[in-house]
């Protein structure tokens, strides 16, 4: 089987967005009946690769060959007609049409003159529905379907045109364990049909059982390729996901065992539509404590923080200093002292560094207080002092992250939430950021809740660590115990 020519052959693929190189010189090939996993953390460029193959973005350089035909730069609909199908992560079916009609849509020709579907289309749509397990709900409309069925509908639509290559974006996101098994079986069915399959996911673990080979990406570049086991053992991969050697520096002087927690999250559940994003999650943070929540992308970290900040509805209770946050608006929660520095940073790109910081200080009582806070921040992040007049959008990734943290600190939070500050940053920048956090922790009594997938970054600062996996807290303990108890199973 390995003598066969590859169905999909990608080489030298490069994509730049302005000055950012999202994908650099990526190449791979997939044969009929083969499944390749494309993995990488958020911002690694894996989704861009998928979009380049599908023609949703146009590559700056490189070649994409489908069964020998060069398709790089073709419009998406032409690539689809030539045999590549894609299963999107987020389903957007037509809500007024039934499941059957949604599948029939995918079977229609791209013609302006065919006003009625050909007679065989109906039967073919029914066959596909049966195959992906939608047979029982064929007459229902998508808004009434559970999440897993909506994913099945996406599968059905991708299958309709009988593609030779199938791209699947995060095949198992938001599914229960039982559903993961069914979907694995479905994807395995693509292999038996002789299709070439590309699975795009955050981590090796979730796709390891299915894939023949894995290609790992980081910061737009290929870092490893091989079988799932090889990639999981690969030093570079481990460094990207876990960081280097795991260190822990517990603070001796801090003793919080006695008092009441500053923040207490009690058994909260969050649903995104029908996908369970958090399940019975409980954590607490004492005043002055630095708590890290680690977990792979998609585990639910951002959702947890958004629930605390009042940005997503949840079941359960969240208390700050003993008072429930339920029913408070996000603005009131922020003014109450919980300030989140989101993973997307949300800087005002067109405003200068100084203007961004001033906006963060709007709520401070006096000009003098603002001045003191600003001086302290410029001392903590000297680079921001130098760049005061520069537009925030033109800063480098690391500087932007520091500005985002500084702006959050301008609000003088009682609790600072840092959501994945390392996202998309090069290792050398991580070191600078890490030093700033160390100083922050050593020189101020601030309380910090940090969410990270990079364990080496998260552990040295932490007094206590939670591990979030698949919407649940699976481990809690001192950072010193992490390596022994969780280190192996994390990836």
């Amino acid at each position: 089987m390995h003598d066969e020519a590859p169905l999909l052959a990608v080489s030298g693929l490069t994509k730049r967005f302005g000055g950012l190189v999202a994908v650099r010189d990526i190449g791979f090939s997939i044969r009929p009946g083969e499944i390749l996993g494309l993995i990488g953390p958020n911002g690694s460029g894996k989704s861009t690769v998928m979009r380049l193959v599908m023609g949703i973005e146009r590559p700056n350089a490189g070649s994409v060959k489908l069964a020998g035909t060069e398709i790089a730069g073709w419009p998406t609909h032409r690539i689809a007609r030539n045999g590549i199908g894609i299963v999107f992560q987020h389903s957007r079916p037509l809500h007024r049409q039934t499941v059957l009609e949604n599948i029939k849509l995918a079977l229609l020709p791209d013609s302006l003159w065919r006003l009625a579907a050909e007679p065989h289309v109906e039967q073919r749509a029914r066959d596909i529905a049966e195959r992906v397990g939608l047979g029982a709900v064929i007459g229902r409309r998508p808004p009434t379907l559970p999440f897993a069925d909506l994913r099945r509908l996406e599968m059905a639509k991708a299958l309709a045109r009988d593609p030779r290559v199938v791209l699947v974006d995060e095949p198992f996101a938001g599914l229960t364990l039982a559903e993961v098994a069914t979907f694995s079986e479905l994807i395995d069915g693509f292999r038996r049909d002789g299709r070439a399959v590309l699975l795009v996911d955050h981590n090796v673990k979730s796709v390891a059982a299915l894939v023949d080979r894995v290609l790992a990406m980081y910061l737009g570049e290929r870092i490893a390729e091989g079988t799932a086991e090889q990639v999981m053992r690969d030093e570079t991969v481990r460094r990207v996901y876990l960081g280097g050697r795991i260190e822990a520096h517990p603070r001796k002087e801090l003793d919080v065992r006695g008092g009441e927690a500053l923040l207490e999250v009690r058994g909260i559940d969050v649903l995104y539509g029908k996908a369970q994003a958090l399940q019975q999650v409980s954590i607490h943070v004492h005043a002055g404590e630095f708590v890290s929540v680690v977990g792979l992308n998609g585990a639910g970290k951002t959702t947890l923080f958004n629930a605390i900040s009042g940005l997503v509805p949840f079941a359960g209770d969240i208390r700050l200093g003993g008072a429930s946050l339920r029913g408070r608006t996000p603005a009131r929660i922020a003014r109450g002292g919980i300030v989140q520095c989101p993973e997307t940073r949300e800087l005002f790109a067109e405003l200068s560094v100084r203007e961004n910081l001033d906006l963060g200080g709007q709520h401070l009582a006096s000009e003098a207080a603002r001045r003191t806070q600003l001086d302290w921040l410029f001392d903590l992040f000297p680079i921001l002092n130098e760049r005061q007049r520069q537009k925030a959008g033109t800063l480098s990734g690391g500087e932007q992250q520091m500005l985002a943290i500084a702006r959050a600190l301008m609000m003088q939070p009682t609790l600072l939430i840092l959501d994945e500050p390392t996202l998309g940053l090069a290792p050398v920048i991580l070191e600078q950021l890490s030093k700033a956090l160390t100083r922050l922790r050593e020189t101020t009594p601030i309380t910090v809740l940090l969410g990270e997938q990079n364990v080496t970054f998260a552990l040295p600062h932490a007094d206590r660590v939670y591990v979030l996996e698949h919407a649940r807290i699976v481990w809690e303990g001192a950072p010193g115990r992490f390596a022994a108890e969780m280190g192996a199973g994390y990836l």
Partner: protein, 306 residues
């Protein structure tokens, strides 16, 4: 025949029969109001094909209507007969619409809407600049009219509305309508399913232009004049938008209900003086807020056990 067991087609048939019998029991005054409302209904249906199905907010329906009206009027003044003028006006509208849509559809987000808006302003300017042939702000008289009899005019309008509704509604329920909805909802997903999004949207724009232009021409020959206030003004655009949203986006036929409501009540509430537009707008606003799917959208809402 499954169709015969559903109430929808029967209700539609009943309403058409009722409308067809109107000249027998309705005065000339109200016949005139309904005649205008029917042409307006075609404007609104054409607009719903773009807004509800192709997902494009066209702020320039009056660009298309105006091209049809003035195109037909100019031809008539040049001595051509009414059928030829109507066809000519429609061709002008489709060609003008395609020339506008080709560049506009390449743009994303609000820019399509903005370009169509600018097109209307350009057309307004042209009409004023070339006042010697177009009549400028006063309007352009046409030598021929459809009829001087209110009933006959009513028949023309109703027939035109019925045929347009049949075609546009059929189109919306066809495979093409399904593809159009997919492109309107998510152009990337539609393209990934193998559909040439620009081609389908352009086709929808041309169909919309065809019916808008024809209706504009018909209205001109009904009123005996084409004027900026009746076929190009931006306030017409606003009324079209309200009629569609009120009647029910993505239903095509709801646009007719919305148009009749707007024009009929505007007339009935005339004794209120300045207040009448306010009352009509307030009612429309309330419907839009409480029934965002519009009247027909609410009646036809999917009902199935959760």
């Amino acid at each position: 025949m499954r169709m015969l067991r559903r109430p929808g087609p029967w209700i539609a048939l009943l309403l058409v029969a009722l409308a067809a019998s109107a000249p027998g029991w309705m005065g000339a005054y109200f016949l005139g109001i309904f005649t205008t409302a029917y042409y307006f209904g075609v404007f609104a249906m054409s607009w719903d094909l773009l807004f509800g199905f192709a997902g494009e907010v066209n702020f320039g329906p009056t660009f298309l209507i105006g091209l049809g009206a003035y195109g037909a009027g100019l031809l008539n003044n040049a001595g051509f007969g009414i059928p030829l003028c109507l066809a000519g006006g429609a061709v002008v509208a489709v060609v003008g619409g395609a020339l506008l849509a080709l560049p506009a559809l390449r743009l994303r987000g609000p820019y399509f809407g903005l370009i169509t808006l600018v097109a209307v302003l350009l057309l307004l300017d042209c009409i004023v600049i070339f006042a010697n042939v177009t009549g400028g702000e006063i309007g352009m008289m046409v030598p021929d009219v459809l009829s001087i009899d209110a009933s006959v005019n009513y028949w023309y309008a109703l027939g035109f509305l019925a045929i347009s509704a049949l075609i546009l509604f059929g189109l919306s329920r066809s495979s093409l309508g399904l593809i159009l909805q997919a492109t309107g909802q998510d152009r990337i997903e539609a393209a990934a399913l193998g559909f040439n999004v620009t081609k389908h949207k352009l086709a929808a724009f041309c169909v919309s232009a065809l019916f808008s232009g024809l209706a504009g021409g018909m209205l001109t020959f009904y009123e005996g004049a084409a004027s900026v206030d009746t076929v190009v003004s931006l306030s017409i655009t606003v009324q079209i938008v309200i009629a569609v949203v009120f009647g029910g986006r993505r239903t095509i036929l709801g646009a007719v209900l919305g148009s009749i409501f707007l024009i009929l009540f505007d007339e009935l509430l005339r004794p209120l003086g300045q207040l009448n537009t306010f009352v009509v707008s307030a009612i429309a606003l309330a419907v839009i807020i409480f029934f965002p799917d519009g009247v027909l959208g609410w009646v036809l809402r999917p009902r199935e056990p959760r």
